[in-house]
Symmetry: C2
Subunit: 382 residues, 2 copies
Amino acid sequence: MDNFTFFNPTKVEFGKNKEQAIGQYLAEHGIKKVLLTYGSERIKRDGLYAVVSKSLGDKGIQFVECGGIVSNPVLSKVREGIALARSQQVEAVLSVGGGSVLDSSKAIATGVRYDGDVWDLFLGKARIEGALPVFDILTLAATGSEMNSGAVVTNEATREKFAIQSVHTFPKVSIVNPALMRTISRDYLVYSAADIIAHSIEGYFTATVQPKIQSRLVESVITTVMETTETLLADPNDYNARAEFAWAATLALNGIIYAGTSGFGYPNHMIEHSLSALFNVPHGAGLSVVMPAWMKWYHSRNLPQFERFAQQIFGLKTAEEGIAALEQWFDKIGTPTRLSQLGITATELPATLDNLQGNAQWFGLAETYTRDVLADILKRAL
Amino acid sequence: MDNFTFFNPTKVEFGKNKEQAIGQYLAEHGIKKVLLTYGSERIKRDGLYAVVSKSLGDKGIQFVECGGIVSNPVLSKVREGIALARSQQVEAVLSVGGGSVLDSSKAIATGVRYDGDVWDLFLGKARIEGALPVFDILTLAATGSEMNSGAVVTNEATREKFAIQSVHTFPKVSIVNPALMRTISRDYLVYSAADIIAHSIEGYFTATVQPKIQSRLVESVITTVMETTETLLADPNDYNARAEFAWAATLALNGIIYAGTSGFGYPNHMIEHSLSALFNVPHGAGLSVVMPAWMKWYHSRNLPQFERFAQQIFGLKTAEEGIAALEQWFDKIGTPTRLSQLGITATELPATLDNLQGNAQWFGLAETYTRDVLADILKRAL
């Protein structure tokens, strides 16, 4: 077990009706004016917007709207949000949506407190020295952003999908009400399942130091995601399954299951970020394509852990059996396992490999993941 | 899954040599004078005291000593610490020791900020409105106090062993260096194992709402504790086993495995608190006696979960088989499973039952745990 620091100051308010108190949570932090970020107008149709505006109004909190944030959120929108936050002199950002809205909100919150262009922070050209406080009401459980300090944004001009992370970007309060996730589409449910599994396995398979207790926690998360996904596909109204799925998503990336783990990378995310930066595929759909292909290429480098995975998750024996079972499970729930299902063919491989070179640098994985290796992995996914 | 709030602002600094930076951590919080609490003079003999005083000195931090805190820490010592902290005008408390020293430190930290007698806070006669910041260097992993806000103290005059809990009593920084635990005696290692298992199972077996994901996390903790205890009994110098054991102890009571769980109580702790308040037995030793007896009395009330326990922890089938296996495992590692091993005989039962009446009230379990029920459980443990 390697040395580590665990620090996660986010307060998670989890459960039914928690969003009704959002005004109270902001008031406790002395907020009087907030930037309200969201994606589509769906939150207005389904009543959540009304709940939020009433709760804010009851506490005398003003808000300015920044809607229209898209999946695979883009830098131009973040810049727009920063300008709005500055001109309106808001004191905080309130994200109402999924991981894309929340990540954009974290980026806006840091950008407001930085004099240069916010993309500098993603490129590591400048340090994050502060941020507006971020609050959120989560409407889709997948990215884990509600209880960590990371934010992923795509620079649509350069086709770079990079991230920031800072002690200043932990949300102050995250509201996770599984009932708000009842209307998530079948597609986004299964993409989210793939995303959570991807967060769980990057360290599990690639770490040079991987404590057994942490492997057990990872397996608990994956088993829960698989079980609850199947329950929710059969009955989207199963609140308890929705809740366990959401808590698994939070646990997958709040630092607990990565404590004491070291020497790991995020190769699956590295590859997927190029797919979504270039082809705007849903992040989870890209991951369910990348993972089996990556595993087939990688497994001989950590055979005992892949055998452990096969046994603990599927009751099988060999690494190959475990990988095949995961791929079959992705097929069964209906998340893609082939690039062709994302509309990506061999013709697109050279451009993808070009984009991946910058990504591999950014992820610190360029030495292992050469163009040849990446071509090998991508060809397995065609 | 029930509604919950998860909030845990403690920074855990885990790993080798972390204690060398204690001065730095205090300095980051602006501390210039601290009350240094500890138990025996062992920390002076084994060099830890020298490391701490050098680290504090390097940052110009003064300290006042409050040593001699005992296991099952007592109220008189807490009062002494409060008086000292006040007269010396310290700004924080630094606990160097195990759970008893840390719990005493939390009690001192709250008592300093309360005008009345500190025991009022344990009796619920007054609310905890603030506390000095608490820091700690943990030398024994068992109680989980390093990453929660609880503190248990015994009023030796009234023979009451009660607890406080407050948002103000989370340690600011907890240093958990498993290497510092290398010299723990065989007895205290196995008592600690019993304590961690007890923390894990109270909710697991008694909750009216127990999410499956949380059961899986509990099982991960218990499996790890059992495995690493056996490793450490064979080789006390196995750093990795020491580290996984310590992290399991932290996870068992930092709120993660209890999130979304509800309707549970702490009956095993309730019973044990009377044993250690009356007979000053080591807390973990008391728990390993109480648990099998309690399980034999309780299991029919939650049969599926006891069958799950038997299967997941021991690969067995029935509730009875699982309970017997746990008792045998306690016997195997050498932690007591009978009151007689603690020197408690049938003669002592009436006095124990008398003491338990107040405890059952305090724990909110008096309705279920009548004198007859408690007599039944204790007789099974004779």
